[in-house]
């Protein structure tokens, strides 16, 4: 700690002018149905992983769209890929594939391959 006893805080803002949407692009190119999510939350309500851990696919999708990928690393690993969400999605999003692609994209992102 510095002599003042506090730090200048980091911003929690989603800054769309500087955020990185490569992961979003990667997913959308390979799974176009990702675009039509209208954030009803049906996936999250039915989610098996969500019953036991704080996994929220609806919110994860939103963060990917905004280019906020930092929380993604933890999130994707929580999904058990059971696919129940896909059965319930009223817009027919291939949610399972979205999660798989997100995991793939974040790996590539970290290796500078995106």
């Amino acid at each position: 700690m510095n002599r003042f006893g506090f730090h200048i805080n980091k911003s929690r803002l989603i800054d769309y002018d500087t955020s990185d949407r490569k992961v979003r692009q990667y997913i959308t190119d390979r799974e176009p149905s990702f675009r039509v999510c209208f954030a009803c939350g049906g996936c999250t309500a039915t989610c098996t992983a969500g019953q036991h851990a704080s996994f929220n696919l609806r919110r994860m999708n939103t963060l990917i769209r905004r280019g906020e990928i930092a929380p993604l690393r933890e999130e994707v690993s929580r999904c058990m890929l059971c696919g129940k969400c896909q059965l319930i999605c009223p817009r027919g999003v291939n949610t399972r594939n979205v999660v798989a692609l997100a995991a793939e994209a974040i790996m590539k992102y970290d290796r500078n391959e995106l």
């Binding site: 510095n2 506090f6 200048i8 805080n9």
Partner: protein
Amino acid sequence: MQLEGKKRIWAEYQKDIPDDHFFYVRSCIRQTFFAGSEQVFLKIMRDDLGKDVMEDPRHTTCTGIGYHGDVVPFETISTVVARHFALATEAGYKNIAISCVTSFGIYTEILETWKHFPDLLAKTRDNLFKATGREFDLPESIAHASDIIYKFRDELARKAKYQLYDITTGKPLKVVEHIGCHYAKMFPKHGIGGAEFPHVLVGMIESWGGEVIDYPERRHCCGFGFRQYLIQANRGYSISASRKKFESMEPYKPDMIVANCPGCAMFMDRWQYTIKEIDDVTYGGYKTGIPTLTYEEMAGLVMGYDPWEMGLQFHNVQALPLLRKMGIKADPDKRFLAKDGSRLPEPANLINS
């Protein structure tokens, strides 16, 4: 930007400010950190404008920082404010002039609450009588002290010795105006110009020859946040909010910041120093910091008051370059003097010194 649009809004939010006979209440923060500002306000009012301003030494804090720090209940602060109304009533004054923006917000909130809940007014009368034996009439008007200077800005402009004008370049000074949140965000119709485009400082700056900067974070809070500054562990909140503003205004190369709220003026000065210490970053066109003034100090400079007798030297960002631009001759060696006129050691690490 289209000025016509702003003028339309300014025309909508005007309020009646009385012409004379004010009962003045001081501010905790202003009298502590900018005592010279309160004094120069009184001098301008009394000596330059010939107004009657009464100050009763028996008035106190409104307890606003305690109220917004959540240790003082609404019933208590209402009664403390009612006591000030009682003092004004006893002295025969109907117009309250308020030094502090937090107080101004609170006075407004209390009067509005009493309007909607008359039983709370009755209860407050009761409480005040029980506690002090005092009774009060509601004031006819309440104004923030900056409202009053705004009202007389053109008269002051006619009597001014200096302008907000850079004599070295022949251009108006670029001024960032910062309005304390509690001035109009809670009750837009009680602020000159409303909440989104307040005119109270813009009017002064333009009347006195300056040019106002409208930058994206203009309306953002300075970050005081009451408990967010009072407690050391929380101060990251406070400094971060000010930094956000500095970064947003920096590209416009402002010559100074002026605020009508004592807290904002204090923080926007102090945080420039702290940010320099923590991150080695200074703001201002030439990395010299941006002098941050109270509106009384700005008015005082224009009216030709001695900057050191207003206390401009007690800011971390020193105003010497600004004074040079305005053509004000002020001896830097006379900034820090003892009562007997002897020189005190100059503080180290001031910005712009």
